[in-house]
Every structure is written in structure tokens, then in C-alpha cells.
């Protein structure tokens, strides 16, 4: 897998604030081939916008995002949705549990949305969900509903959900935001483990602890991305 952003920008249109256009992301180039890429920066610096554009959920104002050479925003909605479902794992910002489903059902949503419907695949998905819930430390909550979970537990559920379909790239927006030190370390070790197994991890965070796990570090300020350091992958 090779993910390449070429000259991507993102403008937001705002109502009633003097100038109507706010540029959240200035022309940016980025390559993701594997390992853990960490983007750090203050709130409002454009980190989440970059992550959303890269992950195929927010089209750039200019520029292209290429997945193995193919412009993902030129794909049909159905094809892009399949790509997100099968090859991309996303941990969005905030609490993203579906309130009507249990924790385990939430984790299984990517499988439910996939085209794979046979019984064997279903059994494998169930066991994968159990395994991931165990790994992120919330297996005891698998029959609970999101409104019964703490913020940290919900983040870990979202991480398990993002990993269900064994994505080629995992995009995580503040994945350790609500976690205590122990669970932060647990999640970062998990990211390291999956990165070592071949999944590229792109994470945006305030958390300086995560830098020690990073293979590439970028910083973001006022929509401008700067390389901080690149270690050997």
C-alpha cells in the first residue's frame, strides 16, 4: 500500500465572519507507506482536517490523494465506501459509539457494512471482535451499550472497531485523548504491534508520549505541515 497526498488544501466556508473562507490546510504533500506516522499540533491547527482528507471522508479543495496511484476522490461513492470499509480503519475524534448497538455490535459494524455475508466470515468476524475487545481491555463490556461506558472505554471500543477488517491504513484522531497512562501505553503498544505486522498507522495527537512510538513525526501549525523527524522504519 502506498498513500500519497499531492498538494492537498482544504478551505471551509463560514457564515457571518468577515472573510467567508477559512483555509484549514495549506498545500501539503505527504507519503504514507507503513509504520507509525504521528502528526502533532495545537487544537485548530488543521490536524483533523488533514486526517479526514487522507482517509477519504473529506474531499480536498485542491490536490489529490492517491491510493496505490489511484485518486480516491475520483472514485464512485460506492467504490470509495468499499475502500474505506475494507482497507481503511478510522478512529474519529470524539465519542462515536452507535447508541442503539452493544459494544460488540458496534465493533462488528464494519463487518455488517461489508459485502461479505457468509456464515464462516461472520464467525471469524465475531471472534476477531472478541479478540480486539480483549486487546483494548473492554471485553467485559461487550454486551453493554455506549451510554454505559466511560470516555476512555468508548475510545478503546472505537479503536477495536477500526481494526476489525484488518485495515491497510489506520487513521486515528486523538486516539489516546481520553485514556489514562496505563491504557495509553496499551493502545500505543497495540499500534506498534499492528504497524510491525504491516498496517500503516497515521495518528494525530496532542500527546507527546506517542512520539516515542512514531516512525515519522510531523508537526502542524496553522494548516502547514512540517517534518519534525523521520526514524528508520
Amino acid at each position: 500500500m502506498h498513500l500519497q497526498a499531492k498538494g492537498i488544501t482544504k478551505d471551509y466556508f463560514r457564515k457571518g465572519r468577515g472573510t467567508n473562507v477559512f483555509t484549514a490546510l495549506h498545500p501539503t504533500d505527504l507519503n504514507v507507506d507503513g509504520g507509525i506516522t504521528v502528526v502533532v499540533g495545537k487544537s485548530g491547527s488543521g490536524k483533523s482536517t488533514l486526517l479526514n482528507v487522507l482517509s477519504g471522508v473529506l474531499s480536498p479543495t485542491e490536490g489529490t490523494v492517491l491510493w496505490d496511484g489511484e485518486d480516491i476522490y475520483a472514485l464512485s461513492d460506492k467504490t470509495l465506501s468499499c475502500l474505506r470499509n475494507a482497507k481503511v480503519g478510522i478512529v474519529p475524534q470524539g465519542q462515536t459509539g452507535l447508541q442503539s448497538l452493544t459494544v460488540k455490535e458496534n465493533v462488528l459494524v464494519p463487518f455488517y457494512l461489508s459485502e461479505n455475508k457468509d456464515k464462516q466470515a461472520s464467525a471469524l468476524a465475531e471472534s476477531r471482535a472478541d479478540e480486539l475487545l480483549e486487546k483494548v481491555g473492554v471485553s467485559h463490556l461487550s454486551d453493554s451499550y455506549p451510554n454505559e461506558l466511560s470516555g476512555g472505554e468508548l475510545r478503546r471500543m472505537a479503536i477495536a472497531r477500526a481494526l476489525l477488517n484488518r485495515p491497510e491504513v489506520l487513521f486515528a484522531d486523538e486516539p489516546t485523548g481520553d485514556l489514562d497512562e496505563e491504557n495509553t501505553a496499551l493502545i500505543l503498544r497495540l499500534f506498534r504491534e499492528i504497524a510491525d505486522q504491516g498496517t500503516a498507522v497515521v495518528m494525530v495527537t496532542h500527546d507527546r508520549d506517542s512520539l516515542s512510538y512514531a516512525d515519522k513525526i510531523y508537526s502542524m501549525s496553522s494548516g502547514v505541515l512540517t517534518v519534525e523527524s523521520i526514524s528508520e522504519i
Partner: protein
């Protein structure tokens, strides 16, 4: 799609009040569609049946009976009544240019007293000349109608071969007629001789109906069939001009008076259905839009996790379709519970013939109302679904963050 159904069912459980409100709105749609259509159809059916059963071109009654509306209340509302004129009027009517057949009828009201089993309208007809009642009787009874033999309307509660007593005279039920949805359903038919015997018995018991018309010369109405090639209005006018103290009216014009009433009632019901539908559809669109707005983040998550726009619409649509289906069934059930038992009251309240259509037609109407309400109920959610599906999920998540 199993997942869509799971999401829908779980949402119903998690938000029971919201679900109930939506189901009730759709139920209201199907209730008005089915109930309103059934009432309109029953009124039309009743009119057709009334027109067919009247069976004459011109009806002649004593002047006062027409001006006081006694004839219409007997025929339409089944209120027992009587009025008489001398049978010399019959001969005069027969002599009018254009009259092919003129057949007399004799009306007698029975009473709620020990001498009578039930208060009903008795209509005696002349078997020799009758052309309006006997064709209907032949549909259920082909034998001869002898002394004290009676044929009862559909709403008179007595089996064939049962006995009914009127003015202390026991009568044998030989047949029961099909339902018409008019006052004729509570009428008892017999030949003229039986009717006059009953009248005589009533007089003996102290009931005085005839006034100064001698019984052997008394008739109540004359049903007229005009000769081929003659205009009904022309013959009606001739009777009114040539025969004094009577009022002739075209049976069709009597029916058209009823038809005008029916059109007005149907129009009012139609407008009410339209108003209710517009209101419910607007409320449903607003409700689904609000709910979708409330669930914007949920839909954004589904998009992020790989739901295409089509799949997201399917998820929203499945939920709406389930609500639509359940709501429509509830509405249909309520309609059946309300409209069917209230048929008789509606007939009385509207003073119009009211006859339920056949079971097949009712089932067809129910299925139509079910499909239309369920589809309209579901379609209202698509506006909201389309709006959400058309917005980039990255923006939805950002708005919510």
C-alpha cells in the same frame, strides 16, 4: 438487509416514545385513507343499490307526503310511516299519456306494542302489476306469496320460516332480501291483500291511520314505468297537471337529490382526507428531518465505516418502512374497528343510503391504503436521508465535534 433491520429495531427499543409518535402519525394516514375511502365507497354503493331497488321512472304520492318528506324518510331512513289516497288516483295516473305501467303500493307502520313483534315499515304491493319489488324478491324467493306471507329486508332479524306478529296477525317469513343500505332494509313486504288485512286488524285494535279514505279504496303510492320513447319529465309533468292532490316526482330526480347530498358528503370527506394527509406528510417530513439531524453523527460514523450513500439511505429507509408498515396496519385496524360498526349510525346521521362494498373490495381497499400509507410514510424519510447522505461525513463529524 439484516443490519439495517437490527439498527432499526434497536432504535425503536431505545426511543419508544419517538417510535410510537411516528407510528401514530402513519396510522393516522392509513386510518383516513382507508376509513374515508370506505365511507365514500359505501355511500356510492348505497346510492347504486337505492337507485336499482327503486326501479320506477316516476313515483306518485299524496301531495302532503311529498312536501313533508314522509316518503323519503320511509325509503331512506327506514322511519316507519304511512299516508293514503283514494285509488281513483291510480286510474287517473294510468290514463295519463306516456304511462306504461302504474302499480300501487300500500304503506303501514307497525308499532312497539304487544300486538306487534317489531316496529317496521310494511309495504304491500299489487302482485298483478308490480314491477319494482317482485324482481328483487325473485332473487331470493321464487314461490308464490300467499296470505300472511312476508318477505323481510336484510336488517329485520328473523330467519326464513320464522313468524312475526303484526297487529295480532301472525305472518310467515318466506324470504329475506339482500342488503341495500337504505331504509328498505328494515321494511317488510307482502301482497296488497295481506297489507290491508293488517290495516283492518290495526283499526280493530284502535289504531287509526286511514283518516277518511275507505280501506278498500286506500293506496299509498303509485310506481310508474313510462312508455318507451316518452320523456320521464314530460310524463311527470302530465301527472302533476292532470291528477289533483298528488305529487309526482321522477325517481331519478329523487335519486339525484340523494346523489347531490352524497357528492357533498364525499367532497367534504375527500377534502378532510387531503388536509389530514398534507398535515401528516409535512409533520412526518419535519419529524424525520429533526430525527436525522439528531442522528447526524450516527450516520456520519456509518459513512466513515464504509456505508455508501445508497446503503445509508437503505438503513434510514428500512427504519421508516418498518414504521410505515406497522403504522399502516395499526391505522387499518383502527379504521375497521371504527368505520364498520358505525355504518348504521353514519347512515342515520347523513340521511344517505350506506352500503358496505363486498369483502373483496374492502380487502383491495385495505391493501391499497396499506401500500400508499407505508410508501408515503417511508418516502418522507428520504428527504432527510438524501440531505445527510449528500453531506461529506468529515464535515458532519467536524460539525458535531
Amino acid at each position: 438487509m439484516k443490519f439495517a433491520r437490527t439498527i432499526a429495531k434497536n432504535n425503536f427499543k431505545k426511543k419508544p416514545l419517538r417510535t410510537l409518535a411516528l407510528i401514530l402519525l402513519v396510522a393516522f394516514l392509513s386510518f383516513t385513507a382507508f376509513g374515508g375511502s370506505l365511507v365514500i365507497l359505501s355511500l356510492k354503493n348505497g346510492l347504486d343499490s337505492y337507485e336499482a331497488r327503486l326501479g320506477a321512472d316516476v313515483v306518485v304520492v299524496p301531495y302532503q307526503a311529498r312536501t313533508q318528506g314522509t316518503f323519503e324518510s320511509i325509503i331512506l331512513q327506514g322511519i316507519p310511516g304511512y299516508f293514503y289516497m283514494d285509488k281513483s288516483h291510480l286510474d287517473k295516473v294510468r290514463a295519463v299519456d306516456g304511462v306504461a305501467i302504474a302499480s300501487p303500493q300500500f304503506y303501514l307502520a307497525t308499532v312497539s306494542a304487544g300486538c306487534c313483534s317489531v316496529p317496521v315499515q310494511i309495504i304491500g304491493f299489487d302482485p298483478e302489476t308490480d314491477f319494482t319489488i317482485q324482481p328483487w324478491i325473485k332473487k331470493s324467493y321464487t314461490g308464490s306469496i300467499g296470505e300472511y306471507d312476508i318477505i323481510i329486508g336484510a336488517d329485520v332479524n328473523m330467519p326464513v320460516d320464522g313468524k312475526l306478529t303484526f297487529y295480532d296477525k301472525e305472518c310467515r317469513v318466506v324470504a329475506q332480501l339482500d342488503k341495500t343500505g337504505t331504509g328498505l332494509d328494515t321494511t317488510v313486504y307482502c301482497n296488497m291483500d295481506t297489507a290491508k288485512d293488517l290495516e283492518r286488524s290495526a283499526e280493530e285494535l284502535g289504531f287509526s291511520y286511514l283518516g277518511d279514505v275507505p280501506l278498500d279504496r286506500a293506496i299509498s303510492s303509485v310506481f310508474v314505468k313510462v312508455k318507451q320513447g316518452y320523456d320521464v319529465d314530460y310524463v311527470t309533468d302530465r301527472i302533476n297537471i292532470e291528477v289533483r292532490h298528488v305529487k309526482a316526482g321522477g325517481a331519478k330526480s329523487m335519486v339525484s337529490g340523494v346523489a347531490d347530498g352524497l357528492t357533498s358528503v364525499s367532497n367534504v370527506i375527500g377534502v378532510l382526507i387531503a388536509v389530514v394527509w398534507v398535515l401528516c406528510v409535512v409533520i412526518l417530513i419535519v419529524a424525520f428531518t429533526m430525527i436525522t439531524g439528531e442522528r447526524k453523527k450516527e450516520f456520519a460514523i456509518l459513512r466513515i465505516l464504509g456505508a455508501s450513500r445508497l446503503k445509508l439511505s437503505l438503513i434510514v429507509g428500512t427504519e421508516a418502512a418498518l414504521i410505515g408498515g406497522i403504522g399502516s396496519l395499526v391505522g387499518l385496524g383502527l379504521s375497521l374497528l371504527v368505520v364498520l360498526p358505525l355504518g348504521a349510525s353514519l347512515r342515520t346521521a347523513l340521511s344517505l343510503p350506506y352500503l358496505l362494498p363486498s369483502v373483496g373490495v374492502i380487502v383491495g381497499l385495505a391493501l391499497g391504503a396499506l401500500v400508499v400509507s407505508a410508501v408515503v410514510g417511508s418516502m418522507t424519510s428520504l428527504f432527510a436521508a438524501k440531505k445527510i447522505a449528500g453531506t461529506e461525513s468529515g464535515l458532519l463529524i467536524r460539525e458535531d465535534a
